[in-house]
Amino acid sequence: MMHALPFALACAVTSQEPPASTIRFTDVTAQSGIAMTTTSGSTPSTTVLEVKGGGLGLIDFDGDGDLDLFVPNGATLANPDAGPGARLFRNDGAMRFTDVTDASGIRHRRWSFGVTVGDADADGRDDIFIACFGPDVLLRNKGDGTFEDITARAGLGDPAWGTSAAFADLDLDGDLDLFVCNYLDFDPSKPLPPANFKGMKVIAGPRGYQAAVDRIYENKGDGTFVDRGGDCGVASARPGFGLNLAIVDFSGDGKPDIFVGNDSQANNLFTQTAPWAYRDDGLRSGIAVNGEGSEQATMGVAVADIDGNGRPDVFTTNFSSDTNTLHLNLDGRNFDDRTNQFGLGAPSRTLVGWGAGFVDFDHDGDEDLLSVNGHVYPQATREAMDSEYAQRPLLMERRGVRFHALTEAGAWKLEPRVDRTAVFADLDQDGDVDAVVAGLNQALQVLRNDHDAADDWLVVVPRDTRAGVGNRHAVGAMVEVTAGGVTQRRWIVGGGPFQSNNAPEAHFGVAKGSGPIAVTVRFPDGKVSTTEVATPGRRVTVDRAEVR
């Protein structure tokens, strides 16, 4: 019988002091060629529009096999439609990038928040969708290193304030459908008067504003989209202040479901009952609120199999004087708040958490957790609000059952920042997972993982290269790796850490000398591929086109 990893490790826990962590990152921003300060209104922020920051997009736009970086960027209250503009950075390898925005033809300048990437028109190249304050935008990758704005032709361009978005094949017909979280109705000329937090006047929102309705679009198969919200059960759910989402088969019935994190309101879990029919199981499943029954801020979302039961669990980051939350997926229908069991609550109480990701940074066979932080209220101090404005990232190493907050992992870890999101990917393709961090009106930060061992990792890249298939990255696939009797699972999840996208590949730490590695990929359409890899230290592409 195969053992789920966390509990196998738990058995090995002793009363001895755990060894020092080997997780180390180096801030290589200066050498990376990514010299960009993002814009999100002014500093200090004065309205709710200015505090969310913008996302990051991982995209292999030039098809050379590594992940490039797209930054949608924001704007200012004075001119929300004409900010400094989005940027595209080509990955040249070895953690070096070149700004190719001008050559790419991208002239996007609208105040942007979320970004997602996928082959919307099934032409074999990844396109970019940008969720904006104002009409959303779809940029088509023309295949020659340039992009064109095809928003109107594609039937997109919802004017509501979009935050996070995700492509996924919701109806399992092979093309990529689209879900967009919308936040609230905001008129820059009429912000609400200040609210009160811990006795201080602060920026108002989201409470007091009208929540905006999320959008769910069906891809008609030709790269054009039709809004299905009205007839599928999404638009009829109580509108929430949507901030982030994760699309994966939570229920285990083979159909992709949609988790939507709402700010200060109950989260939605749109369980798919039939193609284009959803039931909101948020409250009934227990994932809408935390274990105290309280609605939370729900910015960052990370999905992983934390308890080893083979089901995707959901971690969310939240406001200060609250905790981040881990909802274990018990049986596909019920989620239970087990934040404390895994040690994830207390270290987050003084933080406002944003983008988060589970990654096995040290290749010890379990996933660690990195979340980036920063307050929304410029006047936040420990004395006034129990929480600073600029905050350090929270790096939690998994040791046995519980996660432990690390104080040291390189100089970057000690630097307080006003961060909003991060993306995680093996940018230099050396086998460990690096990160790029984006904050509020501050420079992007490029972090290189210095694990650098050659033979204790495996990257599985699910692909679907069948003609006419837009879901080329197999969003929704489950990847299972078994080595030395230990099984680990990952999902290719639609959505991302916060207003960003996940890397379309599954990274594993694999113990050295653990023998042959069994790799199983369950594709979104239910087809299963099983292969064996002789040794770790390699990237393995598993193509749906080769599965009968």
């Binding site: 409470r207 227990g286 029954g293 309280s294 004395e383």
Partner: protein, 249 residues
């Protein structure tokens, strides 16, 4: 002022006294408690630490560690919180809210046996004559249901929560947990009724827009909550009450 819940006024008074006589540790204790009650835990912490270490005789000194325990709990410093509560439990062995605090710290550290023991002791204290504390009982029972759920004892959790809402029906957390437990047991109608009660309490607290009012529940109706309302405040965890024996003069 403290006993009337006027913590902001108590804070001003304590600051004034401290400004005139910086050496008066009792003023520091009052200031720390008033700040703690206003959820300003970091600032409260330093005054409570000073009060705890004071050599001056004043009635609040022996309770400073209790309030310090709550501050550190809310700041996520469970180790210091536990030590502070343990100190208070030595100094004032019969204080059920300190046992409750120790129970919550144990839950935070996933020490289920300890959580069970402390919360049961807390329940015992809140139930003791001559003045049983119904709200305290409900809080202890609600947290004991957490222990049961963590152990997978869903029916037991339901029984504990039903006892909790009988003791005091004004805790939205209790109704919400009861709804969750009933969902797990497949009792959908009963779950919805419990959820409706939680919603009604949140509405009464001003944490729900009026248009979101659910239909009246068929179950026992919760009384109006007496907790102060803080509109536009992000979701907060359960706020502990003061020790049932008010240490303030």
């Amino acid at each position: 002022m403290m006993s009337r819940g006027r913590f902001d006024a108590a804070e001003v008074t304590a600051r004034t006294v401290l400004a005139q006589g910086a050496e008066i540790d009792r003023a520091a204790a009052i200031l720390g408690i008033s700040l703690m009650k206003q959820k300003k835990y970091e600032e409260a912490r330093k005054y409570l630490e000073r009060a705890r270490g004071s050599q001056q005789p004043f009635p609040e000194r022996s309770h400073a560690s209790h309030f310090l325990g709550w501050c550190c709990y809310h700041l996520g410093d469970l180790e210091v919180s536990r030590a502070a509560f343990e100190q208070h439990a030595k100094d004032v062995p019969d204080e059920p809210d300190t046992q409750f605090g120790l129970g919550l710290v144990a839950l935070g550290e996933d020490r289920l046996e300890d959580a069970d023991r402390f919360l049961n002791k807390s329940l015992e204290g809140f139930s003791a004559p001559p003045k049983p504390d119904a709200v305290g009982q409900a809080r202890a029972l609600t947290r004991l249901s957490d222990v049961a759920m963590r152990r997978g004892e869903v029916e037991k959790a339901e029984e504990l929560l039903e006892r909790a809402v009988k003791a005091s029906a004004v805790q939205h957390e209790t109704w919400s947990k009861l709804a969750r437990v009933r969902d797990r047991l497949g009792k959908e109608k009963e779950a919805d009724a419990a959820r409706a009660n939680a919603e009604r309490i949140l509405q009464a607290l001003g944490r729900r827009p009026a248009e979101a009012a659910p239909a009246p529940a068929q179950q026992s109706t919760p009384a109006q909550p007496n907790t102060p309302v803080q509109p536009n405040t992000p979701a907060q965890p359960t706020t502990p009450a003061a020790p049932s024996k008010d240490p303030t003069p």
